[in-house]
Structures are given as C-alpha cells and as structure tokens.
Symmetry: C2
Subunit: 619 residues, 2 copies
C-alpha cells in the first residue's frame, strides 16, 4: 500500500472534496492550457493555407484573425451564459441534451470525447515533435518519449486535481509571460519604426505566389485557424471543480483565458504582417511561425530558448486539459446510463480514475498507431469541437425560449450557432479526405455503442428489480460436490466444511494416471472410515478419466450432469484453495482453483453456487 500511496497520494475523504477545488489562478493551467497553447498552432495553421498567395496572403492574416476573435467572442459570451445557467457543470452534453433531447446531447458528447482524445494525443505529439526538432538525436525515440510523457501526465492526474493545477502552473505562466513579452516588444519596435521593423534575425523567405486570392482559400484559412479555439469548452464543462463562488470563479477563469488568447492571436497576426512571416513547409528547413517570430523580435539568444522551451512545455502539457475534462464528461454520460458505471465512480483521490485510465489507453493507442506523428492527427481535429459548440449554442437558444430569455440572449446564441455551424461544414468539407472522414465514421459508431449500453442497463434493471419478498418455503440443503486430487490438509478442511452445511456429499477425483492407488487408500481409511463411524451418509466418490490432461472441463461437466439429475436442488461446489502470504508465490502454483471458479461461473446456472474454502500457508 505504501508504494501506491507514494505514487498516487493518500486516499481522500468525500468531505475533503471542497479543499480540492480550484481558484481562478490554478484553474487557468488546468482548464485553459489547451485553449492558450493553441496560439502555438492556430495562426500557423491559417498561414499554411495562405502560402500559395505569398506576400498577398500574409496581408490577409490580420482580417482573418479578427474574424476568428469575433467568432471566439461570440462563443465566449455564449459559454458565459451557459456557466450561469448551469452552475452544476454545463458542457455541451448537458446543454444540448436538456434542451434538444438526449440524441443531440449524446451527439455533442461523442464529438467532444473524440476531440479530447485528440487533444491529448496532438498535444503530446506536437510537444515531442518540437522537442525532437530542437534536439535531433532524440528523433529515433519519438514514440517512447510520447508514451513516457503520457504516463507522467496520467500519474499526475491520478493524484488529484489540485496538485495538477500546481504542477502545470509554472510552465503556463512562463509561456504567457515570455510570449507576451515577445509580442509587446515586437509591437513597440514596429510602432517606433513606422510599421516596418527590421528583424534581428530575418524570417524564412516567402515562396513566389502560385494562386490568386479567392473566397475559398480565405475560408479554408479561416477554418484552419479555428483550431485555435479548441479547448474553450473546457471551463464550462468543469465548473464543479472550481472554488466557491463557483460561477464567478469559473467565469473569471474563462474571461482571462479568452482575453489572453485573443491578445496573443491578434498580436501574432499583427507581427506576422509587420515582419512578413509566413508558414514554412514541413520537413528539412522547417521553422515554426512562433520560432521565426521570436527570432525576428529578440534574436536567437537565451530568451529565445526560454520562449521556445515554454512553448514545447505547454504544448505537451495541454494534453492535461483533456485529462481534467474527459473523465468529468464521461462521468456525466455514465450517470445517465450511456457509459459503464465505473466511469461515474470516484477513486481513492476523489478523481475519476477509470476515466483517466480510459483516456490514457485511447491516447496511447492513437500515439502508437500514428507513430507519434502530429501531422496525421491534425485533420481529425476540430470537427468535434465545433459540432459541440453548435449543438451547445442551439441548445441555449431553446433554453432562452423556454425560460423567456431576452431577445439579445436568443440573438447572440443563434448567431453563435450559425457561425459555428457554418464552421463545422467548412472544416468537414475542407478536411474530409485528409482525415475528417474518420471522425464522421466514428461518431455514429460510438453513439450506437452508447445507446446499446443504456439499453443493456435498462434490460438488466427490469430483470433484477422488483424482487418478490423472501421465499423460505424450500430450505432443502444443497448437494455438495468437491473436487479432490489427493488427501491433504487442504482437502480435509474443505470436506469438513461440506459436512457442516449438508449430508449429501459428492467427491470428484480426476485421474491423471498416477498416484490413484495412494489416493484410494487414503479415501477408504481417512474418509469412509470416520464417516461410517459417525453414522453419516457415505460421501460418493466419482473418478473421472481425462485423456486431454484437462482437469477443469471434466469437473464442470460432472457438476452440470449432477445438476441435471437433481431438478430443483441447489448444487454447491466446494473449491479448497491454497492461499499464499506473498502474491509472487502464486506463480508457484497452477491456479487450478481460480480457473475452475471462472469456468463454473461461465458455464453454470443459478442453481450452482461456488464455495471457496481457503487454506492459508504459514511462513
């Protein structure tokens, strides 16, 4: 237990819960890291689509970013209202589900679950990808480093949420302050030079234009830049994790995250235009937009290294947002019966251990399957987030209509729903071939699974509930069967227990060809003799031959046969079992008792019960 305690922390009482809650300062790293770190890839994703337009394209980054910030503001205002309307935690699942019905709710939830898994995988792989670009000798171990980071994040999260906030606070604030300083310095230099600053380190040369400006290209750039908005959902979904007053703390966190993100996005866009920075092709010679920008403003010095280092850190730690929120989402769905109940149960440290573990496994599988390469994961991304945004805001429209909300409320949410809905369409169409189709296929499959889980629980409930009152009219003792390979103190203890609960005892001996004689001698002398003396009904011995060296199969068949011959009677199978003091001593035995129990449970029926008589080994 001490190993478990030092890895995961001591168990916490339910009443410890309040002290585990987050303030705004600790809430930003936990629920905002994903949104904030997307400043590192959102602008780059938009610029990448403007590359064919060369210099002309870069001039469009500022208006595109303004559009994204406007969209983000609409989404922000909507979620602000959501936090207020749903202080018990109102993610898209709750809002869409309660206002548009369970189907819409599950659709939103499925979209979000996919997105959280992708957030975790993309965050880790992007961080590690940046790390191995900086230190190429780590390149061959990309996947291993990804998995090590995944395990670390998982362990930190299994310890509980407050400590998580502390662990991730330092890199987040380092990232915000260093990148903020770069942006402010750049804007200052730009203004002083009349809008045409001289870069300390010149950015990569822009390739010649290969296309003319079209609405389609600008729309695609806008849609791609919208990846900067993934993660905005996190705060409103995790409201219950905040300190009292819950609504105010959560809103303050959301406001801070959105303002910081908007300022970073606008600052980056402005500086890209001022310094003429574009995206570069992946592969040799690749330089990220933030790396070019930082080098242009401050040069390649220690400060550059700190800034890029903090970018790497927050990128890989942004996965943590998914670890804070995915389990909470799963819990809500599980409470409604659409996911397995263990996902709704808290563990020793007041965290949803099963949700964390599930996410870690899915994310690990994704990383292994895609070899830890970010590029292939990105196109699957963002569809889910915007689908959830749309459903959530459509749900809010319905909410205000039911609750007589103001026209402004309805207008704002309807506008948001339309804007994000249009984004879903654009993202799905532009990214369909390169990966969005996978999301399109997965969503219905997961929803079918969730509906069939719910149906299973309902069927189960009808089967076991409304039990009749206790019926004790038939109290005939059960027939007892006990397998016995040889006469030892272990089998003696089992047989003595058998005679305590009934007088009709059957013993099964599976013949392995040797030592049968010795067993029979013991049987006559040590069992039949005393039974006769005590005047008991004689225990029946059944010897089974087993040509396949199987022991378990013949015993199970015999029990089933006996059960068939005695309709209405219960059959109790006594399984004596050696229990070792130390777990590793179990490797010394063939675990026949365990397998026999499993086989009886699997092939048996309600009339067959299993009695485990343990025999403890002394040290």
């Amino acid at each position: 237990m001490s190993v478990i305690n030092s890895l995961f922390g001591r168990p916490l009482r339910s009443s410890d819960e309040l002290t585990e809650r987050l303030g705004a300062a600790a809430g930003i790293p936990v629920f905002g890291l994903d949104a904030l770190s997307s400043a590192a890839y959102g602008p780059e994703a938009a610029l990448a689509l403007l590359v064919p337009l060369s210099v002309v394209g870069i001039s469009y980054i500022v208006p595109i970013t303004i559009c994204i910030v406007i969209l983000m503001t609409i989404v922000y205002l909507s979620y602000r209202q959501t936090i207020e309307a749903y202080p018990q935690g109102g993610g898209s699942y709750t809002v869409a589900g309660q206002n548009l019905g369970p189907f819409a709710g599950l659709l939103a939830a499925t979209a979000l679950m996919i997105d959280y898994v992708l957030t975790a995988a993309v965050g880790i792989s992007a961080g590690v990808g940046a790390l191995v670009s900086a230190i190429p000798k780590f390149q061959p171990h990309t996947l291993l480093i990804c998995l090590v980071i995944l395990v670390l994040i998982t362990l930190v999260n299994l310890r509980g949420s407050r400590e998580t906030g502390v662990v991730f606070m330092i890199p987040t604030y380092l990232f915000l302050s260093s990148l903020g300083a770069v942006i402010l310095a750049g804007i200052g230099k730009s203004i002083m030079s009349g809008g045409h600053p001289t870069p300390v380190e010149p950015p990569a040369a822009l390739p010649a234009a290969t296309a003319a400006v079209s609405l389609w290209i600008l729309l695609k750039a806008f849609a791609s830049g919208c990846t900067a908005m993934t993660g905005v959902e996190a705060v409103s979904n995790g409201v219950t994790a905040f300190r009292e007053p819950v609504v105010q703390t959560a809103r303050r966190t959301l406001t801070t995250v959105i303002v910081l993100l908007a300022m970073m996005l606008l600052g980056i866009a402005y500086l890209c235009r001022a310094y003429q920075i574009g995206a570069t092709e992946p592969g040799p010679g690749y330089q990220s937009v933030l790396s070019q920008l930082t080098a242009a403003v401050v040069g390649r010095n220690l400060f550059y290294l700190i800034t890029i280092g903090s970018v790497l850190l927050v990128l890989s730690f942004s996965a943590n947002t998914a670890f804070a929120d995915f389990p909470r989402l799963c819990r809500l769905i599980a409470q409604d019966g659409y996911l397995p109940v263990p996902l709704a149960e808290r563990g020793r440290r007041l965290v949803y251990a099963w949700g964390i573990t599930t996410l870690a496994l899915l994310c690990g599988a994704l990383l292994i399957f895609f070899d830890g390469v970010t590029d292939r994961l990105i196109p699957l991304y963002a569809v889910g987030a915007f689908l959830a945004f749309t459903l959530s805001q459509a749900g809010m429209v319905e909410h205000w209509r039911r609750k007589d909300g103001s026209r402004m409320h309805i207008f704002l949410n309807a506008l948001g729903a339309l804007a994000t809905g249009a984004t879903v369409v654009i993202v799905t169409i532009t990214k369909f071939v390169s990966g969005a189709w996978i999301t399109t296929v997965l969503i219905p499959l997961i929803m079918i699974m969730m509906f069939s889980i719910r149906r299973h629980y309902e069927r189960l409930r009808t089967q076991i509930s409304q039990a009749a009152t206790l019926d004790v009219t038939d109290r005939t003792a059960p027939i007892v069967v006990m397998p016995m390979m040889e006469w030892t103190k272990v089998s003696r203890a089992g047989l003595q227990f058998a005679f305590k609960i009934c007088s009709e005892v059957y013993v099964v001996h599976v013949s392995t060809g040797n030592a049968d004689k010795e067993f029979l001698d013991n049987w006559h002398k040590d069992v039949e003799g005393p039974a006769r003396q005590a005047g008991l009904r004689m225990p029946q011995l059944k010897i089974l031959k087993s040509p396949y060296r199987f022991v378990i199969g013949p015993i199970v068949d015999y029990v089933l046969e006996l059960e068939g011959k005695n309709p209405g009677r219960q059959i109790a199978v006594i399984i004596p079992e050696l229990v070792e003091k130390h777990w590793y001593h179990n490797f010394l035995h063939n675990q026949r008792a365990t397998w026999l129990k499993a086989a009886l449970l699997m092939k048996g029926n309600r009339r067959i019960v299993i009695i485990n008589v343990p025999w403890y080994v002394d040290d």
Copy 2:
C-alpha cells in the same frame, strides 16, 4: 474457442504424443538450427580478433578452426555417449545432477537457461540486423521487427513441435545447400588455380598489422570462434522428442549436424585463407565474412542474394532451437521442484506452454533492453554453454567410473571436460569486462532463487501432507454474512441460499448516503416479514458508514470482527454476483464482487469461507 484453435491448433490427446515425434530430417531444423547457423558468426568472431595481425592472422584461421573442430569432435563423442546412457533425455542438467549432485546439476541448468535466452535474442537480433543492413529503410523499425519475429516464433511453437519442424525445414535446407554449393565451388576454383584463386568480386582490403603474433591473441581467437559450438547440447537434451528408435534417431541427427557444421567451418576457414578474407569493422563499410566469401566465389548475382537471404533466415530462426529446448529443460527442473510446477505441465497442444511463454517474455525484455542490437548481447554468450559442457562431461567421467566404463570412455570425457573447462576460463576472462560479468552475477542469483523455490515447496508439502483422518465431530452450521446494497432479485437469491445452509444470518449494508430509506423499507417488508412468518431466527442487519466511499474495506473489517467474536465457528460470506453472458459486458459493472472475494481471501483466515451465488443475466 475457434480463434484459439486457429491460432494454436486443436487440442491434442496425450495418446497423440507419439505421432508428434520427430524423425532425423525434421529433427535437424528443430534441434540443429542453432548449431548450424553459428557457422555464420563463429568464423567471423575468430577472424575479428585476428584483424590486428593482418595477413599473418588470416593464415592462422585454418589451424584455429582445426582446433575448434577437434574440440567439437570431443564434445560430439561425449554427447553421443550421453544420448545412449540417457535415452530419456540427458542434458547437462541430468548428467551433472545425477553424477555430481544437485548443486552441479543446477549450476549447469542455470548456465544453459541463460544461454538459451541469449540464443533466442541473439538469433533474432542478428537476423534482423542483417536484414536492416541489406534494406536500410527498415533500420528505424529494428526493435519492432525483432518483436514481431519473436511473436511469430512463439505462436509457431505454441502450436506444437512437429509443425515447427516443417516450418523451419525449408530455410535450413536452403541455407545448407546454397552455402554448401558456394564452399564446394570455391574449393574447386582454388584447387584448379593452384591455391590462389582470383575473386569474382574482391573482398575488403586488409588493414596494416598493428600487433605481433602471440599465444594470447591466438587463444582469444580460438575462444571467440568457439561460439560456433553453442547449440550442440540441444539434441541430447531433447532426445524424448525423437521418433522411435529414440537413441538411433537422436544420434543420427547429432552426427549429421556435427559433420555438416565441421565441414562448413573448415571450408569457410580454407576459403578465407585462399581468398585472403578478413573480418571488417562494424559500422559503415561493414561486410560480413560470409557475404565477402560468397561474392568472391560467385559474384554479386541472384545466387548471392539467395545465399545471404537464407543466412538471414536461419539466423533469425535459430532462435527456434531455444524455443524447442528451453521449455524441456525447465520442465525437468520443475519436476524436481526447483522451478514453478506450471512449467512442468503440458498444454492443449502437448507443448510446455508456460516454458515457451517464459522464454518469449525474457527474450522480449532482453531485446527491448538492448534495443535489438546484437553486439551488446554477444559477450554474455557462450560462457553458459561451455560451463554446461564442462559439468556434463565431468559428470560422464563419474558415470563411467560408477558403471565400470572402459578406460577409453573415461579418457575421452576427461579430455573433453578439461578442454571445455579451459575454454570456460578463457571465455570468461577475455569477455569479462564487456559482458561476461553479467552472466557471472546472474548464475548465483538464479541458483538462489531455485533453491528457495524448492525450499518453499518442501515447507508447503510438510504443512499440507499427512493429513489426519476426517473429523466430523463438530458439525455446527457456519454463521452466514451477506453484504447487500439494495433489495434485488440478485440479493434475494443470495439470501435464500443463506437460509438453506444455516439459520444464523447477518446482512451488512454499507451506507453511501442515498437510497438508505428505500432499502430499509424493502428490508422490513420483504425480508423481516417473511422471516417472521416462517418462524425463522431473524436475520441481523448491520449498517456501516463509509466516509472514504470504500465499500470493500468496511465489509472485510466487519467479517473479521464477527469472526473474532465467535471463536471456533466458521464464517461463510455469501457474495451474490451478476454473471453476464458476454465477457465484454463485465466492463459495464464495477467488479465489486471480484474485489471483495480477493480482499477476503487476502485478509481472511481458515475459518472464513466465501460462497459465490451467481445470478445469470438473460439475453
């Protein structure tokens, strides 16, 4: 089951065993592949140590190889006698153990076990190493390819030994025929050209000499070349796998393997001297000796590719020898009680599934730990094999002395023991720093483990054997305790069973804070009512509060408390359990029953038994 059958084959009867046995032709690939494939690295290992001597060194390869072949002949004659003296399978473990005592036997066995694991790992990694040198784009996936091959070999072996022979027959005979043809053609060309043949493709240039000839260098080269002899042990250890007449078939196999290996070694040595072929440094520009030799004799054509391809195949498949023999060795040791009994039990396909699995896991760990790189594994190698040879032959000397063997017998084995013993010393000293120390440390650790396993079994045996006769004087019914969270058909079935075996029933309810009221209503109406009516002793209800949300801990504590209050009585804990039709439905439940059973077994004692009342879910 059909998936299992198609992966591993249908289960086999014990009486099928004879038809599963091997003839000489199938025995060569199974037990000889390791020995034969070592022709691909033995001569190279010797030549590598002669590099500092340049041309002079190469001239020594023929006498060194003759020494190795002489040593091999001595070992061969010894093992021929061993097969005869031990037709039931006489590896070094048996021979050393029976003649020199269990300590010597276990020492030999430990040495061999280490060597088998290394054989498997080195075989696979050398094969994959050669493959990725030929096709460099596979290089980044070296470890993955190693592990895939390991899994394939493991599956083939789990299917059973005859099919294994068939699978490995083709590459073995391809290797023997193509390399044989190259050697014969080379010798022909050399003789026709008066001992100075012109190479079709010139071998790598020899570096200038950096050392003078010394006995030490020649001894080291001899010791290194002796790696060609690892695997000779395999046949005599696996005698029981051969077809009747067992001794003759095994001897014929051993003779064939040794003659073929000796001819290949001598042929390679002769051609290396004739064509002036030396070992090249690892790294860029590296060319294996066999590749240089084949290219010199036949040029770089299709035949070259076939030859090198078959070398790669047998190298990686040579691991299979270890898979055929390691489990048989483990079985012998387990039968004597020095290794866990499951290693001595045959599985569905008459193979020692646990032994195969253990080897696969150890070999996999080694491959992962050394990143699939052969070079680092080689120095650990060969110490074990020669230690086993020495002990086996020393054992045979003792055997002949006891059985009045001829002087010739004793002389031959004593000579062998001295020669191989000297080799152990040389190999250990020359390879100590580069890896042999690991083997030197591991051997005593493994032996300590084996002796403590044996001691554990002996202690266990004394504890459970010599059971007294059945004592049925105390037949007081047990006290029954049953945990109940709510009143369902599942708990009803459990409680009704309780009343069938005794009248003193305690029910434990762990309060989770909600639904307690509903439970109490049910309790009064559905349990207490009928019990009163039937005039039964009233079941006792105990409600436990649990601040840590733990359910299992409080129940276990309560059971232990009850047990303490009732000395001399047995306590039966009834655990009702929902059993799903499909295994994957188990993920839908919290497995509380399983955990409770495990906790009770772990913390309980001999007076506490566990009764599992299953409740099957209908589809």
